[in-house]
Symmetry: C3
Subunit: 465 residues, 3 copies
């Protein structure tokens, strides 16, 4: 990742892409999604865009009509636009039917949506599967309009269309590795101008794809998926069902990875997969009190992938969990709420996860008893050390569990080492011919530390130095 200048550029680049994508009016279908996917393809040319026709049956669902919206407003009797889609695409209820007419405030009122407990923000509302139309506005504005009385008259226009012959779009990136076992990463592209709960995911995913593409070697094959939530992920799964169920080794959903307030995840239904283990390890090293939510707190596409009928071991990776921050699903979830640094940290978290999976080998010590680290410059003397104290302990603890049965991720769990420190120790010990390694696949997690104390690892009072 290079020097500070580069890192600043990386964080800024990520945030810049988010800002560019922000104004597009995404929904389950329509031109906003297509334009979003094209910009993502510009950023990573290996991205492939697909379409599936409206009306296609997908498991228990049907791909909806393609929705497009061109213009929408409410004008008062002076002809002033009091609500205008041009100012924010949140102002129109997603999948609103076309409407044009002059109506009283009493007639308009049932079509207006506000958040009375957060008066100055515009809520995000959709009505995908029930034909309706409506506007979203701040409760402040609503109260202002209400003050003119129920008889006040408004001109309303929603210039939208719902096309039976339309399509739903989604995209993926495939990066082959030595093994056809796949690491699946999914994110969604169906929310309009929402920054954290939408764009943070695709932005981190695209930059992760770039990083993966530049790796000299990939053991696993990587599949990065960009879909409208729910119906999009279902359509994607339906298209590749047998393949995904056979090949996916670990899976992660990226959502709300752009704020800097917390680290959290939603576990798989039983919380006992390798995806759970590696996610916990990567989060633990970032925050001693990261939140590990059970599957009861699910709310994004892990609901589809990890559902009992499919069983793909997907963990959702988040900063603040969807629904746990006041900006969730309203106009406060904007480009200021997402910070460049948080995007880059989330990218780094995903890199930890992938590093952990790529280097999850099972080491075995070569020597009986402790090897003589001193003559390999891996041990301190009273006159100072050749390797850093931290690296010494990483090497020493790694060796203590390199029993030919315990893999690198288990060693991290047992010793409290970060994934990166364990990888460095493993590489150094391989280089010094002090361990041999084998790759063993597993689907089950080892015992995870309890969520609440996950970061409170026992670090003994070391007695050497």
């Amino acid at each position: 990742m290079g020097d500070t200048t580069t890192k600043v550029t990386l964080a800024a680049d990520m945030h810049g892409l988010l800002v560019e994508l922000f104004p597009l009016c995404r929904s389950l279908t329509g031109p906003g999604v297509r334009e979003t996917l094209k910009i993502l393809r510009r950023e990573f040319p290996g991205l492939s865009i697909y379409e599936v026709p409206s009306g296609t049956p997908v498991f228990d669902w049907t791909v909806p009509e393609e929705w497009a919206i061109r213009e929408a407003w409410v004008k008062n009797s002076h002809g002033e636009k009091v609500i205008d889609f041009c100012q924010s695409n949140l102002h129109v209820v997603g999948y609103s039917m076309p409407f044009k007419g002059r109506i009283s405030f009493a007639e308009l009122r049932p079509h207006l949506h506000t958040l009375p407990e957060q008066k100055d923000v515009v809520p995000y509302v959709t009505s995908y599967y029930q034909r309706d139309w409506g506007f979203c506005l701040s409760h402040q504005l609503f109260e202002h309009l209400e003050s003119f009385g129920d008889d006040a008259v408004y001109d309303v226009l929603i210039d939208s269309s719902l096309d039976d012959d339309g399509v739903m779009n989604f995209a993926d990136i495939l990066l082959p590795g030595e093994s056809d076992r796949e690491i699946l990463i999914s994110c969604y592209v169906c929310h309009p101008s929402l920054a954290n709960n939408e764009l943070s995911g695709p932005v981190v995913a695209i930059f992760l794809a770039r990083w993966l593409a530049m790796l000299e070697q990939r053991h696993f094959t990587y599949r990065i998926v960009f879909v409208p939530e729910t119906i999009g992920s279902l359509a994607y799964i339906a298209k590749h069902e047998r393949h995904l169920r056979e090949k996916v080794y670990a899976a992660f959903n990226l959502t709300c990875v752009g704020d800097d307030r917390a680290w959290s995840c939603v576990a798989t239904p039983k919380g006992n997969t390798l995806s759970d283990e590696v996610a916990c390890l990567a989060l633990r090293q970032r925050s001693s009190n990261f939140e590990r939510h059970s599957y009861l707190a699910r709310g994004s596409d892990e609901r589809q992938y990890a559902s009992p009928g499919l069983g793909i071991p997907m963990v959702s990776i988040m900063r603040s969990r969807f629904g746990d921050f006041p900006e969730y699903h309203n106009s406060a979830d904007n480009c200021d709420f997402v910070t460049p640094e948080a995007l880059e940290e989330s990218l780094a978290c995903m890199q930890s996860i992938i590093t952990g999976l790529e280097y999850n080998l099972t080491p075995q010590v070569v020597h009986k008893g402790e090897p003589q680290l001193g003559r390999r410059n891996l041990y301190p003397t009273h006159s100072g050390m050749i390797i850093s104290k931290d690296l010494f302990y990483a090497v020493w603890d790694f060796l203590a569990y390199a029993d030919g049965e315990t893999d690198l991720l288990r060693i991290c769990a047992l010793t409290g080492l970060s994934i990166e420190d364990a990888c460095e120790a493993q590489a150094l010990l391989l280089d010094k011919h002090l361990v041999t390694v084998a790759r063993r696949y597993r689907s089950q997690a080892g015992p995870l530390p309890p969520a609440s104390t996950a970061g409170v690892m026992y670090r003994p009072n070391r007695s050497f130095f």
Copy 2:
């Protein structure tokens, strides 16, 4: 259970039966037990009463002589009865030998039993296996008698008999179901006028039998047993040993289920049976801090059924645990200490346990991914919901674990759903053809939440509504 009027009647009916049974002088044997069992048979005619002769060997024990008592008193020199069995059958030590004579207070003293630390109550004392006679009285009265000096003279009468040719009685109710696997419920009928630590058990058991008899369908066969504690349960087990060891699927001892202070249970020796699991679930939904005692705290007939030589998976269900309330084994354990509401709540708790066992099917989702709940009126829209929010979450969480491997009770443990809510969700999902079910038997509990946090289930901040 019907409307409020009926419920009041139920609670009152239960308490009424307890009040009727209270004055009878029960013991391991004798007319008090027989009369008690006859009243219980009047309440549930399907109850069968048995007898086993005194002297019958039962495992390591022998059925004792039949004890009967007609009259017992201590009169002072004025001929006044200062202690009188007619006032409370607690006044005589259980299994007292006959005695008649004029003796000094010094001679009487070793035969008097009091509770010095609770001066105003009469303790409950027995001497089943060591020939003795004695009286129990309040420490207040004892001090009063003591004030007349050691030389004061008393006429003492205990008109009792110990009959070698007598019998010990017990009873059971058998309610056959589709399966010959049995749910065993046991309670005891050997204490004299003690309300919570005796009669609460048989009263709840009889009303449970009525409820079970009225069920349209029973999967399991039910065996409800009324025995004198220890020797009675041993005799009952000896009579049916092979059958019980082969057929009992889950077992519960009902004791101290009439006070309203707590919910608790005594686990099986290793705490790892299906009985433990379903009991914990039913208690958890009633109190977030119910007490799950280990088998070290045993003290009732679980000591026999669950003993290592028999291994019947019995859990004792209690409100306050025997020994943990000051009214235990003394005259304060009276009909006022037991409340009608507590009796009815305990009945409901047993109904939860039985409901959990009867409907403990293993559901499997029909669809891959989440089913479209909206078009089945099982999902909220922004304009309101068709089903209640609680039922929606029950349905939604139930579906998330309906993987064909996890049964209803495990789903309750994993999701925090009550047994009743899970059953309602299962029934609704079956009705909508969203799950299929199979019945799988198991004897082992899944992992139980730790006792101290059993009720502190993670309930996520739901983000939908």
Copy 3:
């Protein structure tokens, strides 16, 4: 262990041996170790002393030259010895090369070692594998010397030798039992005048050997090993590798067992062996908050025996853990820091461990249901008890888990009984023909209570008495 007089003598005898051994200048090799081992052989004639030549390869290591030191001092310009090996053998860095010369303080300074944060103590420093020489002194003295300036001149003598043709010594005691399965106990003899972190181990080990030798019957074979740390234990293991790996059933390292501040242990790498279980039980009964350190806190010969290449299930038994007390590795670790009582308590702890292993049988109740304890004088009546209340509960709880599957140590873990109380209950129940027993070997620990609450066993509110 007899009456009080004997006990006082025992504690005093143990401390007396420690005081005798204290002044000897031990190191990895040399006359100090030999003399130490000879004194230990005087105390236990069955001890065998071995030697291995310098230069012998041992796994990844090589036995070092034999080091001897006769004289060492620093004289100031007045000819006064300001540092003198004769006063404390800690004053010379272990394995110092010979040196003689007149040098300035500036030249001397890099060869002086102090503890600036503990100004009045002399640190313990070695340089086994890097050729060097040096002196250790209090920081107070160092500051005094420093006050004369860098140009002050000192005569320095280190009359030592490093002999390529030397040997390294170690010793063992073998006490055969009925079984050739072995209990291994190891301690080290390579530190100079350090009392707790050295001599407490060999002293407890020798008195343990005496006790073992006097037992009427030993089921296991006992191997007690006295070695220089690290290279000594490696050499010992190398000599007996196959035998140790095949025969060692449980293993304990004795270190820092002479202070009275704490009880602690270092677990095996995964903390899941029978050695871990029995050690935890013996420590738990001595202190409800004993410290169970993970293998991350290792620091003594458990680092070799339990290393992943060897896998001998060794737990280190300690009072205060090495490195956790301020006297560690400096002149404050003297004969006053170690108390006679602590030595005797540590011996008793090892006796608990051995008793637990010797009597770890698997009991099975003879009777179904509870046996009638009353007619065997094992049950209280209202007129008093024949056996003590504690023994009654021990017997009663022991019986409750005597299911033919659970061995004595597991019963201790489940019931909170001490090893000795469980053994007494087992013996009594065997005597009364209430249980039968079988010996079953196992290498894995049952579930251990969590370290932090290990001593907070649930003791129910007993309701009998």
